[in-house]
Symmetry: C3
Subunit: 152 residues, 3 copies
């Protein structure tokens, strides 16, 4: 091994929790808010500034980036990835003030392996497994595909 | 931190194993069956009631939910997600008797990042990487895309 | 539990590192090279023989398989999966000499949940989140979809 390296351990730190939150480790969750009676599965990463409402389930392998806000009674499936950087200039933007926000309202269910670009999603929406959501969703319904379109 | 929370550690417990099973930790595997000479990679979750046959490889980052049965000599790629709840009433169904089963026969290979909805897949099928399988597959062949269709 | 099993722990071993590399554990990284000032997120697996250049970010939940070479200043998003085995004969190929290589040049950014089959990607390319890249990319630009096509 040519050089030493900086080893950082995943952790749960500086999280503002409601009552009766359950978290399955290992996970990497920091400087965010999680509402009462929510559940967070293993192998998840939740970044600084994220807000998650009450009675949500965030399933294993999901990644929730900064600038994502999730309402109450939401279900985020396994392997769901949120995005806040659209690589607008051809690559990652280091200036966090240029990242884009995502707002998920209440009673939204997102299927496993879905990818959520920076969008607004209204209440009572279902996103199919494997979908890629690249535009705002303003009507309740079921959306799926890449890019996601309304099914019904 | 406003409140204490329930911390659950990922584990390997109550698994009925055949001979010579290899598992790479950390993973979260419970109340399921794994056949002889099978391999389970790291960062996997395998839920209660899952049955995995002999000589299978379940690669890293995969999630196998309750009601999935996998035959012998199957390969489940990295980041493959199985689904048992179709959110039929617009959100997660808490009544497990209404979840749907998936049966994977023998010699089935599923590419990485694929998503498998509740389906039947016959023997000697290849699912391409990144595919979303939403319908039963009853003929051997190669299937890919979102939704997956037969390529050859 | 019917039988004992082989428990292997994820680790960081036999990695040739440049200076000032940061790694967030847990991860499973072995027998590979990581260039100076690169960052590796948690829940990643990087296999034997992989070469990663300088100033790269490999985000959480990504899997980088043997025969992948990544240049300098690249960004690999969360949940990105690389593939080296095309299941050419209807299933996994055990003979590693028949696996296929992937070469990623410099300044390439790959969005979260993308899947990268064995391809060549030239410099200054952006791959959209959730894309499935199945063909070589020889012109700078933005590519997305399943299969990925050039957007602009």
């Amino acid at each position: 091994m040519a050089n030493p390296f900086n080893l950082v351990e995943s952790c749960i730190r500086d999280v503002s929790m409601g009552e009766n939150v359950t978290i399955v480790s290992p996970c990497n969750i920091y400087e965010c808010q999680i509402g009462s009676n929510s559940f967070i599965g293993p192998f998840t990463e939740i970044q600084k500034g994220v807000v998650i409402g009450e009675r949500c389930k965030i399933q294993s392998h999901s990644f929730i980036c900064s600038l994502v806000q999730i309402g109450h009674d939401c279900f985020i499936g396994h392997g769901v990835m949120f995005v806040n950087d659209l690589f607008a200039n051809g690559g990652p933007v280091n200036d966090a003030t240029k990242w884009k926000a995502t707002n998920i309202a209440d009673h939204v269910s997102i299927g496993s392996n879905a990818t959520i670009l920076p969008v607004q999603i209204c209440s009572h929406v279902v996103i199919g497994a494997g979908a890629v959501v690249s535009k705002d969703i303003t009507e309740p319904g079921v959306y799926a595909g890449n890019p996601a379109i309304k099914l019904r």
